[in-house]
Structures are given as C-alpha cells and as structure tokens.
Amino acid sequence: MAMTGVLRPGHAQLRVLDLEEGVHHYRDVLGMVETGRDAQGRVYFKCWDERDHSSLILRQADSAGIDFFAFKVLDEVTLTGLEKKLNDYGVKTERIPAGELLETGERVRFQIPTGHQIELYATKTAVGNGLQVQNPAPWTKASENGIAPVRLDHCLLYGPKVAAVQKLFTEVLGFYLVERVLGPDGEGNAAIWLSCSHKVHDIAFVEHAEPGKLHHLSFLLESWEEVLRAGDIMSMNNVPIDIGPTRHGITRGCTIYAWDPSGNRFETFMGGYQPYPDYEATTWTFEGLGAGGGLDYPQRKLHETFLTVVS
C-alpha cells in the first residue's frame, strides 16, 4: 500500500530527574545508541536498526514525563499541507526552527486536547544502522548491546477529551482506529489505538483526568525470546517491572512494562498484527480490559498500576 502523509513515530523528548542515570538506562540497559549531545545538555539516542539520527531525546528536569512526541511525514510539501489542514481545523501550530533539535528540520508543533505537545517533521539526517553497504550483514554488534530494540514503536498517552483527539487524528492527520475500549457505561471510548500505517498502533490514548501524562514509550523487539531476554536484563539491572512478560489481548502484543530510573514507564514488546484502513475496529468492553484479557490475556487482570501510575 502507498505510505504517504504521516509515516511513523519520529522522536520523543523525555524528562528525567537525573541525566546520567537516564543515559545509563537508555544506552546501556535498553541498549539504544547515543548519537549526540547538544548545547542545552540534551542527550540523543536511536535504536540500532533505525536509520534517522534520533528517536529519543533526554532532558534533565525537576519533574519526569514527556515534553513532546513527533511523527515523521513524507516530505516538506506534506508537512506544509498538514499544517494548513490543522490550522483550517482550528488548531494553532508553531514552527520550531531547523536545528533546534540536532540533525532535524523544521517541526510543526501543536497541542492536542489531551494536553500533549505533538510535532510533525519531514527532515532528519539519516545516519543509518551501520549496514548501508552493498550486500550487508543482517545485524551489527549494536544489536546485541543491552535489550537493543529495533525501533521506537509508539507511545501511550493519558489525558482528558480523548474523543476530540480521536477526531483530530482521524479527520486531519489521516490515522485510523484499530482497537478501542468502551467507557464503563458502554458509551464512548475510554481508550483508543490509532494507526497511520500497517501497524496495530502508532499512538494510543487513555481517558484520564490529568492532562499531558505519559503511560509509556514503547520499543519493538523481534521475538518472544527477545522479550524474555529483556526481562532478564531488566532484573539483572534492578529495573522495576510493572507487568509481564505477558501478552496484551488488545493488539496481541507480547510485552513487559517497566520503569526507567526517573519513573517514566517504557515497554519492550513483540508481535501484533497487520491491519489495513478498511478493517473494522476491534472493540473491548471496559470489563474486558481486565477480565476479558485486554491488558493481560493470561492473567485476565486489570493491574492497578495501569490506570493510576503515569508520569
């Protein structure tokens, strides 16, 4: 199928309480590649198999959480087109200059009703995965350092007015609804999983009173064995684990949720399925989130931290 418009999650900027503890976690335990540090003191990382300069930026701050989440779009013409669509829809946007983030072009930034900052950009330097040669090997040493996920896959954000966010993402940005959890009284959507691709989700939201909250950043692994290995590595490094290794009924992903040293949750997972925009969305009842296995299919349990622990 043609991939146009919004291509994929591009980068996330995360606030950490102690920068070097955060760097150790994301570089040495999660096993991302550090690609730069800027004059503001931010540290940049990419997953070993990603092509572009950075997918995670760490900023030391006095509170944890997410600063912004960005998507890469096809080209600058597409970026300008989406900016206009947002403005016509009534969403105020600002342009962040090229170079404000290392190796990244202009970004169109806007706030969504859940209180989060979202960005769109077209240009980021392709530094490669070390295999930009003819007749390449299938992997590099970087793929064995720490957990070593292949990419930043998606994020799950918490905030109010998820219905308005669903409308914005589907009507303006070209996403489609893949799965959703109904509200406790069967009305509306308490949680939504949206895709701009062939993936089960590129972003997801849960209805929550406090705006602007991060539930998790998610990183993709390629096998169940790698997920189990990730669990071992987390335990070896005293990384506190939230749930897993287990399978989500929602999206079918096989997963571990855990927390970084500043209390930002992250996920290492594999699996899912390959939806198309013409697929009917999968519906879960609110009870199904727990007892129906939506969150944890083997345990059939709504772990209390899922709805209450966010940064």
Binding site: L17, D18, D62, S63, A64, G65, P160, V162, A163, G183, P184, D185, E187, G188, N189, A190, V206, E207, H208, A209, P240, D242, W259, D260, P261, S262, G263, N264, R265, F286, E304, T305, L307, T308, V309, V310, S311
Partner: protein, 106 residues
C-alpha cells in the same frame, strides 16, 4: 538496620540505609505504602515523615513541592533511613477517572 513504622496501620518493617524505604517494604513482601513507578515520577508512594532522619534522592516536583519537602512530605521510593522512621501514607492509588466516567464525559 532501622525500623520503619507506618502510623495508620502500626505496621513495622526493617530497612537498611542502603535501600529506599519502599524497596525495603517490597523486598520483605510487606504492604502499607502503595507501590508505583519506584523512580520518583508518579507520586503514589507519597508519605509524610513524622519522625526520624533520612537521605533523599531527587523526586519529581510535580508531586513534591519544596513546601512539601520542608514539611517531611516525600516519596518513599526516594528516601533511605538514617534513623528509625515513623511515617503517614499521603499518596495512594487515586481513583481513575474511568471509574467515575459518565456517558457525557467519555
């Protein structure tokens, strides 16, 4: 080895200065303080230290203001005892808005 006493429940557990108060409780399989992210971000383990001295690591200002800290309100996952401690639990698993969601709200 120090003793940590939770005022509301009169539970007591031991904790070394090499662990955080929350770690000490979890490792012993004890309860009393809600367990969240264990990294200082989520606020569920907020306690008010009524007596005793402790070392502290940095904690998120979105949950512990400077005023909170000056009054002994801190996150149990970020403090280690330097003496016996008595504390009250202030944080907790806040009811999620979904439990109170009406048809109009969602």
């Amino acid at each position: 080895m120090f003793e940590i006493r939770i005022t509301e429940t009169s539970e007591i557990f031991s904790c070394t200065s090499g662990q955080t108060v929350l770690e000490g409780m979890v490792r012993l399989g004890r309860r009393g303080i809600p367990v969240g992210c264990r990294g200082g971000a989520c606020g569920v383990c907020k306690v008010e230290v009524v007596s005793g001295c402790f070392d502290r690591k940095v904690m998120s200002r979105s949950h512990v203001s400077e005023h909170d800290e000056s009054e002994g309100r801190v996150l149990a996952c970020r403090i280690s005892p330097v003496s016996d401690l008595e504390l009250r639990v202030v944080g907790g698993m806040r009811k999620s808005v979904l439990g109170q969601c009406s048809a109009k709200g969602c």
